[in-house]
């Protein structure tokens, strides 16, 4: 089994870029090897961004594609602790 596809989220994961990210994520979710979403570079995240992450996981589950999140940045960790969400 090959390594999951790396998906790098760049600086901003907010409503401003949400539409783009959604398109890219949906496209990436076509890979049966799974998806590893690298969050190390995220400097800014809001509710729209969190929703996308939750969406990605749910969609992965639906399609039977493993989705994992890697190296959450400080901004992401803070948002997760605010919402008590676990990825």
């Amino acid at each position: 089994m090959t390594a999951p596809r790396r998906f790098v989220v760049d600086e901003e994961l907010t409503i401003v870029t949400a539409a783009d990210h959604r398109q890219r994520l949906l496209a990436a979710l076509g890979d049966p090897n799974g998806l590893s979403i690298d969050l190390s570079g995220v400097a800014d995240i809001d509710t729209a961004g969190l929703q996308l992450l939750v969406m990605a996981r749910a969609e992965g589950e639906r399609l039977g594609i493993p989705v994992e999140f890697a190296e959450p940045s400080a901004a992401v960790t803070e948002a997760l602790s605010l919402t008590r969400l676990e990825l």
Partner: protein, 718 residues
């Protein structure tokens, strides 16, 4: 302890007596403060405490006995001359009289044991008396468990945050709300609700789907938490509910609250519901009542249904409300009556029986004696009525004297010097009226102290005496009782009132208004000119309530003021609520009653056409109102019409009627809620022939008419 009926009855008497004793105690203490060497007053105060202790002992009310004992001990030292009366001592003792009152009122509600809050209060007060106790020989008061201590009140809240779909697009990020909430207190738990998130294909990445449940522990009041969501309230569903663990706290707080018969107020005061939520719930209530044309749903039910508050809290508030109404009806269950009045009534009834029996004896000398006996019966019935009504009359003085305490406390708080002058305290009025007017009066007194009378320094600068004067006066005037609250303070500021009224959109800018119209604006709802809100008044919730209460008693209120000289508030009330002397008039087939005390004279309507509904009365212009026209009574006017001239606040107006039917003792029957909005009619009565006559409310009738006249006359000019 269970109460059987005998015990209940005896306890009622004890409560009545105890109230008097406590009031005597308070009055005596205030008197002592003015004249510390008043030997007789010291004795009276001591006796009052002693008697109270003794009677409480008879009923086994240990908490009252223990508390009063300490007070009595201190007063004993004063009587023996081992303790001097100082302002400090009086200040320590006065709250004790309040505490005694509170315990007695609890008894009146059938609560024989003190509750925790009250007991804690008592312990605190007694410790304040300790310095005055010579040898500490006081009985240790029965201490109840503490627990109601005043620690800074932290509340736990459950916030249900359902943000609107558009909130992200509007630049509102729910995360920032979560961040902000953490600064208000401790966020103990968050649950992010992701259920609403649709499948990836249907998801709009810019819509908000998340909802949150936040558990917050904070000392901030609910209104402050609510204010956090001001910007998103419109399209979001935000609910702030006391956490389940807090239910008991609210229920306890509500039980310990002062009397209030409006459940909404109780809930807001407890902090469980905010004004905003209450307003919204009231709106829903009204809307439904309009739409469904059914009985309004109780406000508590709406609050529960909207998820604003739990049922337990509403039930506690309802309980509080019910208890309040019960106490109120208890207030009038026992009444103290001067024995001489009762004797007079019984005498009269005896005479009536004799006169009655003599009407039945067939007289030998024809019908004349029988008519005489009949007349005698009529006279006696009238006297019995008068005398029975007078049983309910009490002098207003005792209500006035209660304000001495208010004046003293408020002056201390505000650093003002005010002497209270009471005149006309022996003017009598119906007991029920006295009880219902004392709250509005209290408000007027506080208002005068707070806004009317200036600080000593300011008074000196204006060349006034340093000490201000507050006058309470009462007198009878044409079947009414007039109560005045007058101060020699700064007077009302016409310009400021007007500016405020324009700002509040009560009047349009540039409207020409007479002085009295301007001053009457202070009675408008939500009007307050106080620039700083003190904790006494200035919240703008007072004067309109005062006016409403006075109007509900069929009374009126007016202001008389002069800049820098002072303000007088004058309340005019009917002496009793039940029976008036009326003047019966007929219009077509209808009958009306004009309160006799308003009628000054009757004249015939001059024949011929009259311009502008005015007639010439001995060289003066007299405007008149045609009752036939105003009440839309069909039919032709009688050939000869009469004018009943009535006087209201110095203004004379004629009422045009068909026939004058004479004086009549009128038992007022209320009109019922269906007609509660009807102006100009204050009630109805049933005539001897079984027909109904409406009682005219002269004040609104004239005011309403002159308003319309002004409009009518303004049209051709404009």
């Amino acid at each position: 302890m269970a109460l059987d009926d005998d015990m209940r009855e005896a306890l009622d008497m004890f409560v009545t007596e105890a109230r008097d004793l406590v009031q005597g105690l308070e009055e005596g203490l205030l008197e002592l403060e003015d004249q510390p060497s008043g030997g007789e007053t010291v004795n009276a105060v001591f006796r009052a405490a002693h008697t109270l202790k003794g009677s409480s002992g008879l009923f086994g009310l240990q908490h009252l006995v223990a508390f009063t004992h300490v007070v009595e001990t201190v007063l004993g030292s004063v009587r023996d001359g081992t303790l001097d009366v100082t302002p400090g001592l009086v200040s320590a003792l006065l709250p004790c009289t309040d505490h005694l009152s509170a315990m007695i009122e609890n008894l009146a509600r059938g609560q024989l044991e003190p509750d925790a809050a009250l007991a804690a209060d008592g312990t605190r007060l007694l410790s304040g008396l300790e310095p005055y106790l010579a040898d500490g020989g006081a009985m240790t008061p029965a201490r109840a468990a503490p627990g109601a201590d005043a620690e800074p009140h932290e509340g736990a809240w459950r916030l249900e945050l359902g943000f609107g779909e558009d909130c992200l697009r509007n630049g509102m990020d729910p995360l920032s709300f979560l961040r902000y909430l953490a600064t208000l207190g401790t966020v103990t738990d968050v649950v992010t609700v992701t259920d609403r998130l649709p499948d990836a294909a249907e998801m709009d990445p810019e819509s908000c789907y998340f909802g949150f449940q936040v558990d917050l522990v904070t000392a901030a009041p609910k209104s402050e938490i609510e204010a956090v969501f001001d910007f998103v309230r419109e399209d979001s569903d935000i609910r702030i509910v006391p956490a389940d663990s807090q239910l008991d706290t609210y229920v306890r707080a509500i039980r310990a609250m002062p009397e209030n018969d409006r459940i909404g107020d109780v809930l807001v005061a407890s902090g469980a519901v905010t004004e905003l939520e209450l307003a919204e719930a009231l709106r829903i209530q009204q809307e439904r009542a309009l739409r469904g044309k059914t009985q309004p749903v109780p406000i508590g039910e709406i609050l529960i249904e909207q998820g604003i508050v739990q049922r337990g809290i509403v039930d506690a508030a309802l309980g509080r409300q019910r208890r309040t109404t019960e106490t109120r009806s208890q207030d009038t269950r026992t009444i103290r009556i001067d024995a001489a009045r009762l004797d007079k009534l019984i005498d009269l009834v005896g005479e009536l029986v004799i006169a009655q029996s003599s009407t039945g004896i067939p007289s030998s000398s024809g019908g004349e004696t029988s008519a005489e006996a009949q007349g005698e019966v009529m006279r006696l019935v009238d006297e019995v009525r008068h005398s029975a009504l007078s049983l309910r009359m009490v002098p207003i003085g005792s209500t006035f004297r209660r304000f001495e305490r208010v004046v003293r406390d408020v002056c201390m708080e505000l650093g003002k010097e005010v002497s209270l002058v009471i005149t006309g305290g022996d003017a009598e009025m119906d007991k029920a009226l006295v009880e219902r007017i004392s709250d509005p009066l209290l408000h007027l007194v506080r208002n005068s102290l707070d806004h009317g009378i200036e600080l000593p320094g300011e008074r000196r600068n204006r060349g006034k005496t340093q000490q201000g004067t507050l006058r309470l006066n009462a007198y009878h005037d044409a079947g009414n009782i007039v109560i005045e609250v007058a101060d020699d303070g700064r007077g009302l500021d016409r310009e400021r009132i007007l500016a405020k009224a324009v700002e509040r959109e009560l009047v349009a800018p540039g409207t020409p208004l007479t002085d009295s119209e301007v001053y009457n604006l202070i009675f408008e709802p939500g009007f307050s000119t106080a620039e700083t809100v003190s904790n006494l008044s200035g919240r703008g919730v007072g004067m309109d309530v005062v006016k409403r209460n006075v109007t509900a008693l069929r009374g009126s209120i007016e202001v008389e003021t002069a800049r820098g000289v002072g303000t007088t508030m004058r309340i005019r009330l009917p002496l009793t609520l039940a029976i008036i002397d009326g003047f019966l008039v007929g219009v077509g087939s209808s009958s009306f009653i004009v309160p006799l005390d308003r009628v000054t004279e009757c004249v015939e309507l001059p024949p011929g056409p009259l311009v502008r509904d005015c007639m010439n009365l001995r060289g003066e212009v007299l405007p008149f109102i045609r009752l036939r026209q105003i009440f839309g009574i069909p039919g032709q006017a009688a050939r000869r019409q009469n004018v009943v001239i009535v006087e209201q606040s110095g203004q004379r107006t004629g009422l045009v009627v068909d026939s004058l039917l004479g004086e009549l003792q009128t038992v007022i029957k209320p009109l019922g809620i269906l007609f509660s909005r009807v102006k100009c009619i204050s009630g109805s009565t049933i005539l001897g022939n079984g027909e109904i006559a409406l009682i005219l409310d002269v004040g609104p009738l004239i005011a309403d008419h002159s308003d319309r006249e002004q409009v009518r006359q303004a049209v051709p000019v404009g």
